[in-house]
Every structure is written in structure tokens, then in C-alpha cells.
Symmetry: C2
Subunit: 349 residues, 2 copies
Amino acid sequence: MAGPKVHDEAILGAISKRRDLINDAIPEELPIHRPKRLYEASRYLLDAGGKRLRPTLLLTTAEALADVEPLSTNYREFPTFDGGTVDMIAAAVSVEIIQSFTLIHDDIMDDDDLRRGVPAVHKEYDLGTAVLAGDTLYSKAFEIMLDTGARSDRTVKALDVLATTCRKLCEGQALDIEFEQHSDVTPEEYLKMVEQKTAVLYAASACLPAILQGADDKTVDALYGYGLDIGRAFQIHDDVLDLTVPSEKLGKQRGSDLVENKQTLITAHARKQGLEIEELVDTTDIDAVTEREIDNAVTEIERVGSIEYATDQAYKFVDQGKARLEVLPDNEAHELLCTIANYLIERDY
Amino acid sequence: MAGPKVHDEAILGAISKRRDLINDAIPEELPIHRPKRLYEASRYLLDAGGKRLRPTLLLTTAEALADVEPLSTNYREFPTFDGGTVDMIAAAVSVEIIQSFTLIHDDIMDDDDLRRGVPAVHKEYDLGTAVLAGDTLYSKAFEIMLDTGARSDRTVKALDVLATTCRKLCEGQALDIEFEQHSDVTPEEYLKMVEQKTAVLYAASACLPAILQGADDKTVDALYGYGLDIGRAFQIHDDVLDLTVPSEKLGKQRGSDLVENKQTLITAHARKQGLEIEELVDTTDIDAVTEREIDNAVTEIERVGSIEYATDQAYKFVDQGKARLEVLPDNEAHELLCTIANYLIERDY
């Protein structure tokens, strides 16, 4: 594997400090009030934890742009380029709420039982409450993003990014479901789907601070591109982990994508190499598959070079993304954005 | 019954012309593209028809404010108070899309089979597609409202109204579901729920043109109040119709609210009069109830004066709403807004 190795301690420390700030801000921005059950359900998944990668990306990008030392500046009154302030925590929480909303609705669609080690919202509560909790989060994300104190024209641009991102997330999820019925998805089609389903929210997280602070279009576009690239890399790496990390560590059955006929960059590549990917695992029942079957399947996939191909692609996207950051000043936060990019493809869970 | 009688032909003619414009604009604002199944599902309920009451209200309020003759002005380039133009059709379609999104998700929650004479979206397609179609419509409503060409500060206000409205619609739906488990809902609690579940979207429709055109806060607030009042009246009248209109005409079983233990202003009032409302109909199975049972229940409810009470309340709200319109110039569109208010409580379906 090419690429620099992450300094785990540094990156995890930087992430965890921002994560704590986000965790503190969530109940402030999304208090539980009447109807209580609705708001409890809306908070359920947010309170179950998570790495808060997207809001961390947002806060770090803000710091890189403002050229301030990481964690030195009050995020609630963060400086803009023209002497004003905006509430970056609000923007960061808004993005995390969008992420939570999509997970709640995705779990309904996939009828998944578990998420982040706790029951999915439609299992812990009920279907109706889960649909409504997602819708409530959606509205709250917009209300919160409307309330950063940014100049009107910048708020309009930020809302435009948020609304377009949400629409693309829906389109990506629809494509993902559609692909389960197809066995001829090309790597290009897969990457387009991943862009919509996953990468656009990273792209939004990276460019929103630039919009709110009043950066020029070139900077906004470059940061959007950086987010798209590392978001694609994140998803490709997720697909690699599904095949290569032991089930205990993964928290779910290794190879579940193969069992459930999920299309990934790996399966698309393997199929192009002539491998009959649907024949590799006999069952479509996740509880019936054996580790030996998965082992054999992974060996075949490795033999045609598909895991290596996917890993190379992930590194390529990360390198491309980091190169786009040259619009930023040379500072510690800029470096941290490179490290976060590396982390996304070097994490082992 | 008090109140002026609607000139049916005039009002229906006025509504139908605006409805046709909205119907033409829906495919323009929400074209079907890839992923095709997602967009077809998103359009399914919108294409099934509807009276387009909310967008009609929006367009008519715009005309009353601008003091132009109804249907004389290009809605796509509608004059603002400071010499600019905004796209009122976009705003009107946005509101109709929000309405459609809530219906799709409400039908999932209530597991209703039919809507507007066609299968509910989750029946015609599937649960996942219906959840996602609603989410897509939600995003599109925001994207379209961002694209009216209004001044940034006004667009921010309009988006704020839209986001807050959506959040309240969710809260109202949650309360409605919660109330099904309660048998002690007071008329005040019911009215609060109706405000959130139904009336806020009428309120948004009435005040959005004022915001986009640049009217003062007093006008915006008065129009919001008008919308709330007639929205409340609309829902109360709906509850009256459920008991008083024959099943054939209603398109569903008369008295379904009683069978399903729905809380309405009528049941809340009857309970206060000492009527044991839960005992009136034995079954909770809509297919098992007889017309005779419903007849007897309605006779009891009429005896304690609850239908008359609800009707009086609806008229009171309509009168209150119309009085708020005094902020508007005296013109034909203003008159039409009064007629629409009357229509909402005099329609018999």
C-alpha cells in the first residue's frame, strides 16, 4: 500500500476534541420537548454516538480558511473574511443531523435491525415514529443552518448546498437499491452512485465554512472537490473493510456485501476480470453463510486483483483531494485536513 | 348555519384556472429523470390530482398584495414592492410539493391504502421508495423555493417559514398519533394539534407571497394569521364532513373517525357534554361497521350539540381570518380570498 501512515494518536485526539464539542452542542440545538416521543426518537441515533467525521471536517476547514490555530477560536462566533462572525457549531451540527436523518430512513429501507450497536430507530420505536423522526431532523437541519448569523446571500448559498446535497443523497440511495437488481454495474456507474449516496455530504461539509465565511468561488469549489474525493475514498475503503476485517472487529458479518449482492467497486472490477461474482457465495442469507465461504470468495477476488485495485483507487482519490487543498493557507488545520483524508482510508473499522 | 353562501361557479372557476397553471408547472419544476423510478414515485401523488388549494391561496394573496387584477399578471415574473420580480409559480409549486410529501409519509404511518382515488405511494411502489420519494420532494421544495429570484434576505425569511412549517407539520402529525391513545383530549388540545398538523401550511401559503414581495411585518403576520384561521376551519369542517356526508360521496366510510378513535373537535366537545364517545361504535374495524351504527352515533352526537358547536367554531375561525385581511387593498383578489375562506367550510367533499 502506498501513501503516508496516519499518526493515529494525533488524528484521533484532534477528532475527539471536536467530537466532544459537537456532542455538547447536539442537545443545545435539538432539545427534547413536546411531542416528547418524537424528539426522543429524533435524538436516539445522534445520542448513540458516532465519530462526527463530517462536522469535524467542517470545523477544521473553517480553521484552515481563517488561518487560526486549531481549537483556539470560539466556534460559536467564528470570524468571517469581512469582520463578521458566524456560528460554525450550528453549521456543523446541521450537517451531522442530515447524516442522522439519512441513516434513520436508510435503515427503514434496508430493514436493518442495528445501527451503532443499538437498535435502529424503527425497531426501538416504530416505523411511523422513525419516518417522522427523520422528517423532523430534516427540518431542524435547515432551521439550524438558517440560524448561523451569516450574511443573507451566504445563508442562501449554504441552504442551496444543503438542499441539493439532500436531494442527491436520495438519488444515490435510490441508485444503490436499483443496483441490487443489476449484475452489470460498471466501476464508473458505481463511482457515480457513491458520489451521490456518500461523497456529497463530505463535499458539503468541506465547502460550507467557505461559503459562510465569504470565501471566493474558486475556494468553495476546490473544497467541494476535496470533500467529494475523500468521500468517495471513504466509501471504497468501507467496501474493502467489509471483505478484509474479521467479523468480530467489524461488528457485523464479514463479506455481507457479497451475501446481499451489494454492488461495490470491488465486485464491479472483479466482474470485468471475468469472475462470476454472484457464484462466489451460495446463500443470500447472512445468518447461513460460513467464514470458509467468505475466505474462499475473498481469495478469488484477490486473485483477480480487485481488492488491490479498489485500494489504489481510494489512495488516488485521497491524493487528488489533498492536492485540491492548495487553495488553503499553509497551516496546522490544513495539515489536519490531509491527515483526516489519510485516516478515512487507513482506519480499520 | 350562519355565514354567506359561496357562489360556487365563481369560486370553482377561479380555483380551476390557477389549478391548471399549477398542474402545468409541476412537471416543469419536477421533471422525471434518473433515477427514474424515484422521480416517478415522487410525481405519482402530485399527478393524481388535487384541488391545489394551498398554491391557489398563495397566488391569489400575491395578486391581492400587488393590487393587480386576478390572472392578469405573469406569475413567473411577478412584481415586488420595490420594482423587482419573483417567480410566484415556483413558490406555489414548492408549497404543493410540501403538501404531497407529508401525504406520502402520513399514508405510510397510518398504513392507508388509498389516496385521491389511487393507491398510496407505498402500495403502488414499496415502502422504501415511498420514504425516499417523500424525502426527495422535501429537498426539491427547498431547492425550488430557493430559486424564485427574490432578494436574499427575503429568500432567507421564506426558507425559514418553510422549514419551521415542515417541523410543525411533523409535530402535529406526532400529536395526532399520540391522541389516538388518549381519551381525554380537550378542544383546546385538539385545536393546537390541528394548528400544527394542518393550519401552518395554509398560513405559510398565505404569508409567503408577502415575504417574497417585500411587504412589511404587520402584513406578513396578518396573512399568516388568516392562513392559520382558515386552515383550522378547513380541518374542523373535514371532521364534520366525516360524520355528515354519505359514504359514496365521501369516497370512504362515513364515521371512520369514530371507528378509528380519532380525536376531533366534535368528539372532544361531546365528551365534555358527558357522552361516552368510545361506546358509540362497537367495532374498531372499518369494514365491519354498519351505516345504522353510524346513524345512531351521529344522532347521539347531534343531541349533545357537538356538530353544531364544531360548525360554529369553523365559521368563527373563517370570520376571524377574513377580518385579518383588512391589511390588504380592497380589490377583486382580496374578495376571492374571502370566498376561498367560505368555500373551505361550505364544500361538501
